[in-house]
Symmetry: C2
Subunit: 328 residues, 2 copies
């Protein structure tokens, strides 16, 4: 159990994206044999530079996860599948809900069917979103809280999670269902603000563009640094008791958007922020304060986040200053 990933065959869908690439790097360090499947859909976060440190150590496949024959081959012989490929663009999902349905629900089901038919032994790690909860009834939000997602992206993630559970319960595909909060850090896309709000604030600061803080800036979120996220995911994947469970990955103590903006401005030694009213559309979809109850994952794996906002943002700023040309 101390080296659960050494020589383990691991498939990461969306492995050229933000979380997937950081996960691939961590797994390679732990001795895993990593295959990435990522079709580099424009604006969805996939970036070959993300895996620059491990590019000679991983296999990269550019098929779409909706390609049944490709996925049939790719799932074979894998001990772990981390499923991160997703249609993630909130603006697009409102304009065209069909791509979310197709990639997030049907795509996930294609991988599960491939496992059912070709790899019943796999351990499947599904990564959903705290957006599946919608408006929090009480804080921090535990895994048995109501799920009233407010957007198509969040709904399709919830539906896919529930389909994962069916494959776990009925078809015996051991699965764990994660719900990730707002994650930030190196390797997130920096081209647009349609997902990854913390990183977008970092970009604005580095560009010297004022950061728009909506409303009075007192809205709270549990911004989580990527390294903490990866530690949690690896801890869960290695934890037999975690399979069959829904687990939050987040922080119990949230911070305000105003504090976030101020901290970024201060650490970047450039940039500024401005208060901006919510647009009507944003106000309707805005689910309010959020913080994750992480009692369950802590009990099962011992994990809790260790990176402060200042440390996480400092590392993030350093990374993007250095590698700006690969992300802007």
């Amino acid at each position: 159990m101390s080296h659960p990933f050494r020589e383990a065959h691991v498939l990461i869908t969306g492995g050229l994206g933000f979380i997937g690439s950081n996960l691939a790097i961590a797994l390679v360090k732990k001795g895993a044999i990593v295959t990435i499947v990522d079709n580099l859909t424009p604006n969805q976060g996939g970036n070959l530079f993300n895996i620059n440190p491990i590019k000679k150590s991983v296999t990269v496949d550019h098929n779409d996860i909706r390609n049944v024959s490709a996925m049939t081959k790719l799932v074979k012989g894998k001990q772990y599948i981390f499923h991160l490929a997703r249609q993630t663009d909130h603006v697009l999902s409102q304009r065209d809900p069909f791509l979310d349905i197709d990639v997030n629900i049907r795509g996930t089901t294609i991988i599960l069917e491939a496992c059912k038919k070709n790899n019943q032994q796999v351990k499947f790690i599904y990564t959903g979103t705290r957006g599946q909860y919608g408006k929090a009834v009480k804080l921090p939000v535990s895994e048995d809280a109501p799920t009233n997602p407010k957007g198509i992206y969040e709904i399709t993630n919830l539906a896919a999670e529930k389909i994962v559970r069916v494959y776990h319960d009925i078809h015996g595909i051991r699965s764990v269902m994660l719900r990730l909060t707002n994650i930030y850090g190196p390797r997130s896309q920096m081209k647009h603000d349609r997902f990854g709000v913390v990183n977008w604030f970092v970009r604005l600061a580095l560009d010297g563009t004022p950061i728009s803080v909506f409303g009075d800036g007192q809205l709270k979120r549990d911004f989580l640094y990527i390294d903490d996220t990866i530690d949690a995911m690896l801890g869960v994947a290695a934890c037999n008791e975690c399979y069959g469970e829904i687990l939050n990955i987040g922080k119990e103590k949230p911070e305000t958007f105003l504090h976030l903006a101020k901290t970024i401005v201060q650490l970047s030694e450039q940039g500024s922020y401005m208060m901006t009213p919510f647009t009507k559309e944003r106000a309707i979809q805005e689910p309010g304060h959020f913080a994750s109850d992480i009692t369950k994952i802590h009990r099962l794996t011992g994990w809790s986040p260790t990176t402060t906002l200042i440390t996480g943002l400092t590392k993030t700023l350093t990374y993007y200053k250095k590698y700006k040309k690969h992300y802007w």
Copy 2:
């Protein structure tokens, strides 16, 4: 408000099926101008004989709800859309989850998009299932109970319901989201047992085949007669305060499967029943006792069911004895 459907243009998807056809007949009686869209997919309940009493008074279109251009035309000018078309076969949905995803989620979204682009004034009545709740935490189950559906059919119905909510909240398509319990009565398909358990018991009795009652027969459900269901749906559609709401349609006092079987055997004056152990697969997916909390729909519309099990079953037996050749 006393004649809300007189000369109203109404579209019923799945209008040749069990609930859809009974609804069409009721609406024609109330003076509505009814269009049915139903592609008569085999084994899904569609049956032209179902609309025999009104066949000269309704327009029937055989397009698939996934046909975007057909739906674009069909939604235009309608005041009400009752959306009943669904992939309903539980056995099929376990073997091939993709048809459920495609018909139930994508199909529903296609209709909503057609409304968004071509008929923002419509009132949209979505019919989900009590299966969206999964195992009841407490009885009777109210609309804010947890939703842990155990099968693909139920998951896709839940996802579609949540997408309907997005179109209501964000795009202004006035919608009501119903969750229907086990409905029985005339016009349900009688060819197989993959949905419509009460009607299947009726068929077995009429065939003189023993009815299999699973386990000890003490499992309880709130079997609801079709006429009560239609009254509820029409009441909701005519109720402005109902739009934006999730509403149960069911009964608060459930009855056991054993009582159901015994009553059918007695009323049919033929048939018999036998106790049968649950199959492993059935046991996993079986969500336990169920009864619907109907406080909310009663408060908003005044509706509550009035048909006793004996009356409902008597009418059902009479119908199928008379029209057996159209259903067997």
